[in-house]
Symmetry: C2
Subunit: 233 residues, 2 copies
Amino acid sequence: MSESAIRPRKEFGKTIAADITHRLREEIIACSLAPGEPLRFDVLRERFGASFTTLREALTALAAEGLVDAQEQRGFRVAPVSRQDLVEVTDARVLIEVELIRRSIERGDDDWEIAVISTLHRLKRIEQRHPEHPLRDPEWKIAHRQFHQALVSACGSATLLAIRAELFDRAERYRHLSANFRPRPRDKAGEHQAIMQAAISRNADLAVQLIEAHIRSTSDNVATYAGHLLDAE
Amino acid sequence: MSESAIRPRKEFGKTIAADITHRLREEIIACSLAPGEPLRFDVLRERFGASFTTLREALTALAAEGLVDAQEQRGFRVAPVSRQDLVEVTDARVLIEVELIRRSIERGDDDWEIAVISTLHRLKRIEQRHPEHPLRDPEWKIAHRQFHQALVSACGSATLLAIRAELFDRAERYRHLSANFRPRPRDKAGEHQAIMQAAISRNADLAVQLIEAHIRSTSDNVATYAGHLLDAE
DNA sequence: AACGGTATGATTTTCGAAAATATGGTCTCT
DNA sequence: AGAGACCATATTTTCGAAAATCATACCGTT
């Protein structure tokens, strides 16, 4: 399997291209490169200090992930956002995440339980220390990602995990998009706690129900608070 | 090579990189580039008549699709095959294809019905003309792909269709792997006919059941007739 | 013989120049 | 004015040389 090829996320500094891919992905997800924004080589070259071809390789990889839009002979741009795309990403996430939660609850061993519990614990600690808006805190972002990753980590399918990871990234971009307009975060801490408990007590039906609600309510929130951005494209 | 010089420059897509990506994908799926085989630039350069960086871009794209394995600093190779990977691809295909069939049956309009019927008709015509082993006939391959594509085309999610297409490609490589060892093709024609009828008559439960059986029996066939190749890795 | 270091050749990775293509403006003709 | 042709500029895409890295064989020491 080529898992490491699909997500070179953690491996810094091996090749420049992989590093640039990683940094570009982060900036696109965080919307510091705005949706639809053209990605011109002169600009990228200055910003990332790499040559044409290296940048091109990174952009090609991100295009395959759906974060970049390649317009042949007319360069690249950050993938645009839309209500339709948000709906598709949300639906696909529910379909896959629900299945993976079931499999993880079915197959998870002691190490899986420990991973779920400890990643949630870290997430809650960070939320206690920084009670302000969490999505702007990179530490919270990482912990949040790791908790959800831990939940499905025992599913046994690297293939589906890779697909899930791509969809998670695309969804996180939408969360960032709405973060600046949302008045106050809803009680995610309680939701995460409930999901953890359902998973650990092997209550698959409940866990599935909670995860689906979690994903859909996040998506609804985005549509509510960033709706004006989704139509403007 | 003289062939690449004669070949029109824009067979698929306008850029050379996109063209190479396409040709490489075809060769990997058809196993004319064997699983696990190292992809050295000297060889590829001669074979495809493109430069290092163009080839690199193509290989990076295919790595994101799971057909190529990128080993940082040590080049690329065709993604290896294994029983585990076959199981994962099969499971993921069932999960997604079943959902997409349901949605297509729910939402498909007249054009969808026409597409399903006509792609199946073409497939059957080809099978009549060439009664020998179909997987070696590129015409059959294309028609087969288009029939299955038509079945899910009305699902309404470009996101899920893209994921489905990747999984279909990965599965087709396994089918090719076993094609040389399978004594005689089973009656796929009948299966396709039944699936079409279930879909057109909007019998979602039946269509889903037939599709799942279709996918799994193909996978079982591969495991049976190409098992020795899967363990050898 | 076993081990570790190192020189050497093979291969990948990166770079900026050069070619190919798109974009935008100007001119001409109807 | 509007449409089309044409040129100049901006931008992307491709190329092969050069740098970086890996694999291997060799050598000396223990």
